[in-house]
């Protein structure tokens, strides 16, 4: 019951008029960001992060700042559904499964029900995930208080190995992308030895690469370049939504309670694993199709086919914050940017946050409940307004977005060099995206690089260079072991299947 008390105090923090205003502002901004091409949760938050620097210095300001930024995240998650359903353009990878049934529904003139179903199930998924965070995060944080450098490094190792083994893409490309992130994080002054690394005499490189610039370039400019190829016009269904449609859809939704619960569970579980939102949405769409009695009609415009991926994607997107606040390991690129924000504001994400800054943590958790309610209200009432944004011609919206990205990149350190870097990252992002190098591992490595290296150094310093320190006790040993299993998961699965096949052949 301790959690309930702490949560109530959190509500006290989050319910101040200023914070409520920020919540609505964040959600509206987030939806706009989610709807616009080239802007998504990760780079939207990255661009707006510098604007919170001064806010975070006031007393209680860090809580307000995180409320603003996390609400932008929720808004962006909601916004992704709008473009998927009305325009058949998935704004984020985890909205792809929403287009399968959402767009056919819109074409049949049932855009209103599709949107209502998407928003309501998003809200439900997020709610389940926030409840899980409320009760599970103090436990995880308490457990992690016993962690030393070897344990923290093996948690990072676990995160990165999960990317390689679970992403399903080309493992070599995942490793390459991730290691580029680590290498870029190492550039600049090494804080332990005071040595300059990888600067080659360029003074602009002394500070190193800021992950915010990378995020803005990779996801913002890169995406604009990619969108250009597909042509300049967006053709969309009209977005009429009224109280009658909403109520009718709400009457229909309880029928899909099994799908909702299953998808929320899949989402919560997968969200804790990095990069989990996309597989979670596909997986729960597939499961819903298999278990539904009219599964064969999926893909032709079933409301249930919208409920499943949206619930899972939101549950996953929300639970990605659980490892971020408890362990300092973000579960998604946007969570990585939020984590970077915490570091910039001078907070150390990780188990100690619960002990040292309970106001901040519980204010954030309370704002997750309120922010999602705010989000649901805003999207249900203002969908046509947001859909109208996509009707602004691309030749106007594209330069405006690039200007916003440039301003965002400049304001991080007030440096023109960063704006140039952003352009370079944009070209890299375009090439990498088209060649299917995953970008999320690079961003995560760039954010976590210094911390991972620091923990690695401290761990092997303690053991005099013996790498077996990562197996030195049950806790760290099982973390490292699990990491290795995840790393070689595709191989293990192939071997296992081979064995099974041989076994069944012998039995026959």
């Amino acid at each position: 019951m301790e959690e309930i008390n702490a949560l109530l105090q959190g509500f006290g923090v989050a319910l101040s008029p200023f914070n409520l205003l920020l919540m609505f502002a964040g959600v509206v901004l987030g939806i706009i960001i989610g709807v616009l091409p080239g802007l998504g949760g990760a780079n939207g938050v990255a661009i707006l992060l510098p604007l919170t620097f001064s806010m975070a210095q006031q007393p209680g300001g860090t809580t307000s700042a995180i409320i603003l930024l996390s609400c932008i995240y929720w808004g962006a998650l909601f916004g992704g559904a709008i473009t998927s359903i009305l325009f058949n353009i998935p704004g984020e990878p985890w909205s792809v499964a929403t287009t399968f049934d959402g767009h056919p529904l819109a074409q049949k003139g049932r855009a209103g029900s599709a949107l209502t179903a998407a928003f309501t199930s998003s809200f439900f998924g997020a709610l389940v995930a926030v409840i899980m965070i409320t009760f599970l995060s103090p436990v995880v944080a308490g457990f992690a208080l016993r962690f030393g450098p070897p344990e923290f490094f093996s948690v990072y190792l676990l995160t990165f190995c999960a990317f390689v083994g679970m992403s399903g893409g080309n493992a070599a490309k995942t490793v390459a992308s991730m290691m580029i992130g680590f290498a870029l994080a190492a550039v600049g002054l090494d804080s332990v030895t005071g040595t300059l690394r990888l600067t080659f005499g360029f003074t602009s490189l002394l500070k190193g690469f800021d992950f915010l610039i990378a995020v803005i370039g990779l996801f913002g400019i890169g995406e604009i370049l990619e969108t250009l190829e597909e042509g300049l016009a967006f053709k969309g269904a009209s977005a009429r939504i009224n109280a009658k449609v909403v109520l009718e859809t709400w009457k229909e939704l309880p029928r899909y309670w099994a799908t909702s619960l299953r998808s929320a569970a899949v989402g919560c579980f997968m969200g804790i694993v990095p990069g989990g939102a996309t597989p979670a949405s596909f997986m729960s769409y597939g499961l819903a199709q298999r278990f539904s009695k009219d599964g064969k009609d999926f893909g032709k415009g079933k409301v249930e086919g919208v409920v499943a991926p949206e619930t899972a994607a939101h549950a996953a997107g929300t639970s990605a914050l659980l490892p971020m606040i408890t362990l300092g390991v973000p579960g998604s690129p946007t969570a990585a940017v939020l984590l970077g924000g915490l570091l910039i504001w001078g907070l150390q994400p990780g188990p100690l946050l619960f002990v040292e800054k309970p106001d901040f943590v519980w204010g954030l958790i309370a704002s997750m409940y309120l922010g999602n309610i705010a989000g649901l209200i805003v999207v249900l009432t203002c969908v046509p307004l947001f859909a109208a944004i996509l009707r602004v011609p691309f030749s106007i919206i594209a330069p405006v977005i690039i200007v916003i990205c440039a301003i965002g990149a400049y304001t991080v350190h007030n440096s023109m060099f960063d704006v140039w870097l952003m352009v370079v990252f944009g070209v890299v992002g375009y090439a990498f995206k088209k060649l299917r190098y995953p970008l999320a591992p690079m961003v995560l490595a760039l954010v976590l690089g210094d911390r991972a290296e620091e923990n690695f150094r401290n761990a092997i310093k303690g053991s005099q260079g013996d790498l077996l320190v990562f197996f030195s006790n049950g806790l760290v040993g099982s973390l490292t072991g699990l990491a290795l299993i995840l790393l070689f998961w595709p191989l293990i699965r192939a071997l296992w299947r081979g064995l099974l096949r041989r076994g069944s052949r012998r039995a026959a």
């Binding site: 510098p50 604007l51 001064s54 080309n170 070599a172 490309k173 490793v175 390459a176 290691m179 580029i180 680590f182 290498a183 190492a186 090494d190 332990v192 030895t193 040595t195 300059l196 690394r197 990888l198 080659f200 400019i221 604009i224 370049l225 250009l228 190829e229 300049l232 011609p393 691309f394 030749s395 106007i396 594209a398 330069p399 405006v400 690039i402 200007v403 440039a406 301003i407 400049y410 304001t411 007030n414 023109m416 704006v419 140039w420 352009v423 070209v427 375009y430 090439a431 990498f432 088209k434 060649l435 190098y437 290296e453 690695f456 150094r457 092997i460 310093k461 260079g465």
Partner: protein
């Protein structure tokens, strides 16, 4: 004419090989520099290059794997990475963007942004100047109000702002 536009400007295989080679070089640079600052065990713990050395090594290994598989996979040579038309489109955006960033240093953020948005609307949207002028200037004025006044985040300014006394 249509066919000419559809023609591939580069195959997936060529770009895959090119990118993998660049990534390999990057990894080699990391390995080289880490070795220079010391990648071994120092007096009081690992030297500065210890961690990046292995990171660089992994970059080289993984990009070599990508390179090898692209070299073996000749089917990729038939796949188009980008058509001429698409490449032209991308360059019509990328080149002005580079010019825009260069202009910021001379004209300041706001004037450069106005010119950039106006150029885009004229070149890609084929709008009339009656529409271009109010939109491009309006957006920049809005940005000025938001960043300079509301958020108090100063952006680089140029001769126009100096003449207007807005510095």
């Amino acid at each position: 004419m249509e066919k000419e536009k559809q023609r591939s400007a580069a195959s997936v295989r060529a770009v895959e090989i090119g990118v993998a080679a660049v990534v390999f070089l990057f990894g080699a640079v990391v390995v080289f520099d880490s070795h220079r600052v010391g990648a071994r065990w120092g007096d009081d713990g690992p030297q500065a290059g210890y961690f990046p050395f292995y990171v660089g090594l992994l970059i080289c290994l993984s990009s070599a794997a990508v390179l090898a598989s692209a070299l073996r996979n000749t089917a990729l040579a038939a796949e188009s990475f980008v058509s001429r038309e698409e490449l032209k489109m991308i360059l019509t955006v990328l080149v002005p963007t580079v010019v825009y960033v260069a202009l910021i240093a001379f004209l300041g953020f706001y004037v450069a942004s106005t010119i950039y948005i106006a150029y885009f609307m004229w070149r890609l949207g084929k709008y009339a100047w009656v529409k271009i002028a109010p939109i491009s200037i309006g957006v920049s004025v809005a940005f000025f109000l938001i960043f300079e006044i509301w958020f108090a985040v100063p952006l680089p300014k140029g001769p126009l702002e100096a003449a207007l006394g807005l510095n």
